[in-house]
Amino acid sequence: MVQRITFFLFRGAAAVNGIALLTIIYFIVANGVEAIDWTFLSQPPRDSMTKGGILPCIVGTLYLSLGAILVAFPIGVASAIYLNEYARPGKLLRLIRLGINNLAGVPSVVFGLFGLAFFVIYLKMGVSLLAGVLTLGAMSLPVIIGATEESLKSVPDTYREASLGLGATKLQTIFRVVLPSALPGILTGGILGISRAAGETAPIMFTAAVYYTRHLPSSLFDEIMALPYHIYVLATAGTEIEATRPLQYGTALVLIVLVLGMNLLAIIYRSKLRKRAQ
């Protein structure tokens, strides 16, 4: 009896996750779907952002995510390889781990302020795609490092031993045996981290995103529009908050589809890699 009740509670707790997700999606879709048409997806905003589309925001968010991947993946994966394959236990290792764990706990708005102070002002990048990419990249690093380390740990040591036993160097072992086995996990974890970051407003509001720009970004030093910031702007600072409500939901819907799409890609790619490995 006790067991039954406990399991019922556990099951309920698990169900809450699904219900929460479904409710959010339903809410956004129900409110946002009417705003979505070809004009909305392919045009820039018009009339003080009360009409028109969100193309610059979509492009901006895609660029930001792509850039963050390019920046954070190599650094994150390399760090994790060092931590998991090379580093000897000691003070330095503990310090680095402490750093990574704390980085993961830093609120996103603090990353935004850091990006403003360091990239935008100190390194004179200005409010730009580049500054946003670097800020988002820094924010995704702990997630990517964590996912990579987990994947590296799940590669059986017997693979490493077999490779070394055949006269492979440590580097060959890592690149030819360990990384290929760990790749599916690294990619999924990494992309989940980036897609999470892509939906954040705080890190880009001081570093990359602007209220409105007529141009699509053509260089790394351009200011951009981005989906999450656009929602924030429409919902809080727009000229007619009530009137733009469908636009807000529409933008939110596009953002969610984009993020879920990225996750889906990661999952498909992972299962493909897994199948090839078997």
Partner: protein
């Protein structure tokens, strides 16, 4: 014909941190002979085996004292290239551990990491190695399939073929049959008989019948010490030391 000395350890001590796992082990291995290392769990036989190709280097807190000579050369000397050593002293592990790659790529791996690019040569070595490991007939049509789809016994022979592909001089086998069924075990044992014509083989085994069947020389380890070593036949029929006798008659272990 007088047996040729291939490898030996002299007064070898091994430590995991403060714990001394091996005490003063001196042992000789001869060309084209099979030496079996036997003893109860935790007696240090596997640790000893893994000193012979410096696999224990992977354990950060480990330390070795004494000498291991491979044809006169101390393998723990600073000038020794560990990668090259492991090429000369191949290893087969307790559990079959093929890479999650195709059968072909598993065997070719050792050649490729050693910088061999010649495709014809690799193909030929793959075939020769698989034949040596008595696996060719079973996998010749499945070379491009994943090695993880093979049975346990086939996987272990694949691992042997993989080790043979780089043409080592010595083959270390760490309980190669402990994860296999009797039929697969028999195949591996037959294989060992064939392989000793070309290689020097050192095998750790828990199974005393196996040691008696496959080896020329048997060394008995007990709590980190080499207790007795001798001709396999003599050691099993007339051990000189009481601990050896107790062990091989099954009184402990």
């Amino acid at each position: 014909m007088e047996p040729v000395l291939k490898m030996c350890s002299q007064n070898l001590d091994f430590f995991y941190g403060d714990f001394q796992a091996l005490h003063d082990v001196s042992l000789e291995f001869f060309q084209n002979q099979v030496t079996a290392l036997i003893g109860p769990s935790g007696c240090g036989k596997s640790t000893y085996l893994r000193c012979l190709n410096r696999m224990n280097d992977l354990i950060p807190i480990s330390r070795v004292e004494g000498k291991i000579l491979l044809e006169e050369e101390d393998i723990y000397a600073p000038s020794v290239d560990v990668v090259n050593l492991r090429r000369r002293v191949g290893m087969v592990f307790q559990k079959p551990n093929p890479f999650p790659k195709t059968v072909f790529d598993n065997i070719a791996y050792g050649l490729r990491v050693n910088g061999i690019r010649n495709k014809a040569f690799i193909t030929e070595r793959v075939e020769t190695s698989l034949k040596q490991a008595a696996l060719w007939d079973e996998v010749k049509d499945r070379l491009q399939d994943t090695a993880l789809g093979l049975s346990g016994g086939q996987q272990q022979r694949l691992c042997i073929a993989r080790a043979l592909a780089v043409e080592p001089e010595i083959l270390l086998m760490d309980e190669p049959c402990s994860a296999l069924d009797p039929v697969a075990t028999q195949k591996i044992e037959e294989l060992i008989h064939e392989l000793k014509k070309q290689y020097t083989i050192i095998i750790v085994t828990h199974n005393m019948q196996q040691a008696a069947r496959v080896s020329n020389i048997t060394a008995f380890f007990y709590i980190g010490k080499l207790i007795e070593v001798g001709d396999t036949q003599k050691l099993f029929t007339g051990p000189r030391i009481k601990q050896t006798q107790d062990y091989i008659t099954g009184r402990f272990g």
